[in-house]
Each structure stands twice: as structure tokens, then as C-alpha cells.
Point group: C2
Chain length 243, copies 2
């Protein structure tokens, strides 16, 4: 067992995981923002990613239920407000539905989850279960992919606006608030992890938690790339674009 890392060393190790495993490196992400996808493929991405957005409040509520102090719960509750909004039509999930609307997908079909890839469902559900089953510090560490999200969001928004005539700034409205919410959230989570993961065992656990979460996001793109990008292997029952 080696000596524990300093907080700065731990942060550097976390950032190194992102540099190797964050899904901005995935071929599907590159194809998405480089304009190499068809509208049907972008629809499949938005439809599947909807399930991630829709389950984030369940993930955060699962952790919220386990947090010991009102201060911590207030911090974490804000994430649920960001996604569920303060009144009908507000919040991240509603903004994501603007995107699927703008791509011409039927909202009832999107919300029914009927056309979801099994791989999407299993990856997202794994994330919800993870925050219920692991230590609170591991659960918080699994949110640290938000350290890397401002970069992917800016790549995605500028690339998609430039490359697809069916994408407008209005349909991408989901992402604008995330550029300020994600750094605020990841600052809190990073400080928590720096302070609470002190032993080598705890530090290994938080590094593995971030690897786990990178695997969630990565495998969602695996499933999309496998199903919808050539040669195309859409599993039985999943969304089939209208050709």
C-alpha cells in the first residue's frame, strides 16, 4: 500500500482519468460535433440521452436521501431543481425535450422510453444504483465528470450549430445553463473529495468511482455508435428512424 496522495495529487489523478476516459474522446461524440451524422442518428442520440437527463433527479434524490446534514442536502437539492425546474416547462429535462421536439421526435414516444437502447437503460440505471450503494464520498466523486463537461458542451454546441441545418440555438437551449451549473456543482464535489478521501483506500475508491462514471457515459455512446452508425445493428424493439 503506497502513501496517500496529497489533495492536489488526488485532483491531478482525477483529471488524468478524464483526459483518458471522458466521452469527448469517443468516436460517436466526434462524429456528432463534426457534422458526420444524419438527422436520424442525431435523433437516436437525443432520444437515448433523454433517459439520462430524466433519471438524473432520481440519481440525485437517491443520494440526497443519504446525506446527513441540511447543509449538504441543500447543496444537493439544487441539482434536482436544476433538472426538474421550479414550474412546468422549466428545468433541464424540459429543455432537453425542446431538443427532441426540434429534431422532430414525438414527445410522447420520447417520454415513453419505448425506443430506448437496452445499453442506455442499463448504463443509466447503473449510475442510479451506484449512488445508492457506495459510500457518500464515492457517490459524490461519481459526479466529477462535470469537471470536464464545459469543454464538451462548447465543442458540441458550436459543432452542431455549424454542421447541421436542422439544429438551432433554440433547440440547444439545454446546454447554456449547464455552462454555469456544472462548474458550480463540480467545485463543490471536487472540494468534498479532496477533503474526505484521505486514505489510500478512500482515494482508490474515488478514482474508481470516476472511472465507473466515465464508463457510464462512454458505454452510452458505444451503444449508439453500434446501433445507429454504419453498419448499424439496431436491437429488436429499439427506435428505428423513419427512412
Amino acid at each position: 500500500m503506497s502513501a496517500p496522495l496529497s489533495p492536489d495529487q488526488l485532483e491531478a489523478a482525477l483529471r488524468a482519468i478524464g483526459a483518458e476516459r471522458y466521452h469527448n474522446l469517443h468516436p460517436f461524440h466526434r462524429a456528432l460535433h463534426d457534422g458526420h451524422l444524419t438527422k436520424a442518428q442525431v435523433q437516436a442520440w437525443a432520444l437515448n440521452r433523454y433517459y439520462y437527463q430524466a433519471r438524473i433527479p432520481a440519481k440525485d434524490a437517491t443520494l440526497l436521501a443519504r446525506l446527513p446534514t441540511a447543509e449538504l442536502r441543500r447543496e444537493w437539492r439544487r441539482r434536482i431543481e436544476d433538472h426538474d425546474g421550479t414550474e412546468p416547462g422549466t428545468g433541464g429535462i424540459a429543455r432537453w425535450l425542446h431538443l427532441t421536439d426540434g429534431l422532430g421526435l414525438d414527445r410522447g414516444y420520447v417520454e415513453s422510453l419505448e425506443g430506448l437502447l437496452p445499453g442506455t437503460r442499463f448504463a443509466v440505471d447503473a449510475y442510479v444504483h451506484f449512488v445508492g450503494e457506495r459510500t457518500i464520498t464515492e457517490a459524490i466523486a461519481s459526479s466529477l465528470t462535470e469537471l470536464f463537461s464545459p469543454q464538451i458542451i462548447s465543442e458540441r454546441v458550436s459543432g452542431m450549430l455549424r454542421n447541421y441545418d436542422f439544429i438551432t440555438e433554440e433547440t440547444l437551449a439545454y446546454f447554456t445553463p449547464r455552462l454555469t451549473q456544472a462548474p458550480r456543482d463540480s467545485d463543490f464535489a471536487l472540494n468534498w473529495v479532496r477533503e474526505h478521501a484521505r486514505t489510500t483506500e478512500e482515494q482508490t475508491a474515488v478514482l474508481n468511482a470516476l472511472k465507473f462514471k466515465c464508463g457510464v457515459l462512454w458505454s452510452m455512446l458505444d451503444a449508439l455508435d453500434y446501433a445507429y452508425v454504419a453498419p448499424g445493428h439496431i436491437p429488436p424493439g429499439a427506435f428505428r428512424p423513419v427512412s
Copy 2:
């Protein structure tokens, strides 16, 4: 809401799901038994499938803990004995490790799960969670893919023996007992479902449980095909064959 199905109609509807969604129809399965895979690709299959084998007793114990009578628990306990054996070196998991040994994989590496595809882990864990969260009848129904397994096993064994010089009858010893265990288990599960899923709602739930389980097995092959068959997109951290 339509009228409930008769038990025979329900069984026919379950078998129709298998005919459309069971993983014997997946391109990776066909490539595996037709001899189109390299040894490295067969290694990747065996390594990932090991996690499924290794978690089956956890799946069955999760359900066992919820069963109300000693009679039911004795029936279900037999499945755990089949996989875990009665002494060291016996049972389905030990036989699976003969296969990974025979393929030249390091046993410690296989058991460490380090090289597992995230998609494999999420699919298998989804199955374990399913049997803990759904009704007992849905949990039992999710085992009904065993109705279709004798066919896939015979295709797999004969195809692999014929097409790969690195495969022997001894390395495939896992499958022989399954040819008698699976029908015995699926007979019980099918009779249970025929008897207990009487309302339309219950019948829809068991049909969806079997679709879910087909999705588990299918998406495990999706992940393998995407990662290891051309063009090959092995995610960061997963098993990389020695070339």
C-alpha cells in the same frame, strides 16, 4: 384493455418474444459459432461472459431471499448449487473458468473483472437489480430465456468445436450439464408464470420481463461486437488482446 390470454396463449407470446429477441439472432453469436472470430475475440467473449456466470448466484440469491415458502426456496436454491457447486472446483462458474483457462486467459485477471467491458457490467447488474425490485412473478419470468438456451448451446458447441482448433470438448464442459439443467429450470418457471400471470396487467409485466432479459443478453453481445469485431472500439481500460 384486452381480455387476458389463456395460459397457452401466454406461453405462445413468450416463445414469440424469444423468436424475435433471443441472442442466437445476434451477429456476434453467429460469427462465434460460424468460426469467424479470432482467438482474441473468443477470449473477449469468454472473459466478459464470465461476469454473467459469476453473478448468476447473486441474482438467484436475491430472488431466493424474497421467496415465501421452503418449497419455492428449495427449487430456487438448486440453481445456486448448479452454479456454485458442492465443493471447490465444481459448478458452472468453475467450469466456465476451465473455458477461460483453455483460451489462455490468466485466471486471476479473469476473476479480477478488471478488463470487463462497462456494457457487460451494467447489463448483468441490471439483471441482478431487476429480480430484487420487480414482483416475484416478473423475476421468475426473467429467467425464461432458458426456454431457448438448449438450442443456442447446441449451435454454439458444435459450431465452436468444428471451427476453432483452440477449442476442445473439455474446454466446453460448461455447457453439457446446462442441456439438462436449463429445461428443468425453465419448466418450473414456465409453469409458474402460466399459473400466476392471469390478469392482462400481470401478463404484460411478464412479457416485458422476458423482453428485458433478452435485452440483457443482446446488449452483452452488442458491447462485444462493438469493441472487438472490426472496426474495433475497445473502451479505455477494457481487456486488450495481446497481438
